[in-house]
């Protein structure tokens, strides 16, 4: 019975973030949180694989105290048990820090055959924590997976990498990062949501993990995070008749040298 650990990040919902037009600062005061969409594919894949090979699925997240809200959501999507590394430093963690913490937590959990990640986090989209964790643990990483199957102690996965696909096989333990196309994450029903509150949760601090001090210091210095402003002409034809507007657009595109 393989042990699957599926990792996720509890991120701000970017749809709720407003940009202050004056200084381009981000206003996150009204933003809600969500499980990163890409990681929902990882959780779903863990749940789907578990039904095929009777695997035990555990979820793992590293977040601030706010991530407490994520546990029930994660558990309602299939995992039997949730681990949460709760530390305020998660707020400023980069890929280096996050992968050190997750790898240390995975070592502490101890039993793992397959570790699943989404292809990137919905907020930073750094696309690095999965393969970093594999490297720290000294195990193979199969990234950008569109299809996977488990047989015995082996995973066979189809990677989709730009202009080609390839089939990669590796023995347990192995890290897999999945593409969004691998599945369609379920929307948990009432029964799953209610069931989630009965499932066990383990909370750790980073001090409970075997980490060096340098392991928790981000490598790059963030200078600024500012709203992106698209500078465009914004000439929108809406007042005239259909024919007039089309004519105006054709004239504009001709002037731009595009027709």
């Amino acid at each position: 019975m393989p042990n699957i650990i599926t990792c996720y990040k509890w991120v701000l919902d970017e749809r709720d973030i407003k940009i202050n037009p004056g200084n381009l600062a981000l206003d996150t005061s009204r933003a809600k949180y969500k499980i990163s969409e890409y990681d929902r594919n990882a959780i779903e894949e863990a749940a789907l694989q578990a039904t095929k090979c009777d695997a035990k699925v555990t979820s793992l997240t590293f977040g601030t105290s706010i991530a407490k809200q994520s546990l029930k959501d994660a558990l309602s999507r299939g995992p039997e048990k949730a681990y949460w590394v709760n530390d305020a430093i998660a707020e400023t963690a980069d890929g280096f820090v996050t992968s050190n913490v997750l790898a240390a937590a995975i070592k502490k959990i101890g039993e793992y055959d397959i570790i699943l990640f989404g292809e990137g986090a919905a907020d930073t989209y750094g696309q690095q924590v999965g393969p970093r964790v594999a490297t720290i643990l000294g195990i193979p990483a199969i990234t950008f997976v569109a299809e996977m199957s488990i047989e015995g102690n082996k995973v066979t996965a189809t990677r989709k990498i730009g202009d080609c696909t390839e089939v990669v096989t590796a023995e347990f333990p192995v890290v897999i990062t999945v593409l969004p196309e691998i599945n369609k994450p379920r929307i948990p029903g009432l029964k799953q949501v209610l069931g989630a509150s009965k499932k066990p949760v383990v909370e750790w601090k980073t001090t409970d993990l075997e980490l060096g001090e340098g392991d928790l210091i981000p490598k790059n210095q963030i200078k600024s995070i500012k709203g992106f402003v698209m500078s465009r002409k914004n000439i929108i034809y809406k007042e005239g008749t259909l024919e007039e507007n089309i004519k105006k657009l054709v004239v504009s595109l001709t002037k731009e040298g595009l027709l």
């Binding site: 930073t124 990234t143 390839e166 790059n220 992106f228 089309i246």
Partner: protein, 309 residues
Amino acid sequence: MAGIWIYSEITNVAEQLLTIGRELADKLTQPLCAVTIFPEDAQALIASGADKVFILKGDNPWPESYAAGISELAVKESPKVIIIGATLRGKDLAAKVAAQLKTGLVTDASAIREENGAIETDRMMYGGLAVCTEVIGDGGLITVPPRTYEALIKDTSHIGEVVTLEVITEATMVVGNVCPVIRKGADITTADKLVCVGRGVAKQEDMQLATDLAAALGAEIGCTRSIAEDYHWLPNETYIGLSGQKVKPSLYLAMGISGQVQHVAGIRDSKIIVAIDSNENAPIFAAADYGIVGDLYQIVPLLTEAIKK
């Protein structure tokens, strides 16, 4: 810490990266080194600006298996920065190298520059809503998407050193069945004009409207993520956005696309953006140079006829 390093498993991309590499190397008075797994491309990399080329010789044709070899070399030579082409293979390798070197990694930098003797990068966050500017720590890694920079015109008089090293490649995975993805149309990432379809198109049969408009414009057809992933009207390779393709055509025309931030992240380098949508408040209009508010079912056929004339 010495040296600006460039690596890509695609030599054209490495040549593009040498352009920004050359700029940084000159400003920081550092040597510019290219790392490659293709001995036959060493001279091309020198002609594109490299002062030195490290050729890694291993017995595995799988580019990702060279992560440990690159890390080992970097430990010995301590480059100031390693810039890697942000193909998916490149991102996989970069993350493994960054973990081995215990260093930072900026993914998909849209700009790299020298600032007060340090290296700074810009990259997107929150699906394209924000730009994050970072100062790179010594020995850090950066990945840069293909076509962010243009390769320099090759200068065959530029002289560089070539060093060949035997490396041990990773062999924990078996790779097989490598198949090219069969594209129905042309590669949309290099298309000069694009018509892009969103959920404003109600039925698959109505895709003909896009086909006709694209034919009149001489354009290729792309789509939003839901058209490819949820509706399968077009192959996954043709969806544009943060997790899909990034395009930079001279004309991008959106048909029935609301303009979610993740989609707009994939089109922001387009020269001219045109939007047709019935919702005047759709965010796509804020991202557009020109637009018509109205029913695409009425507008597109008339526009197609007008363009034909």
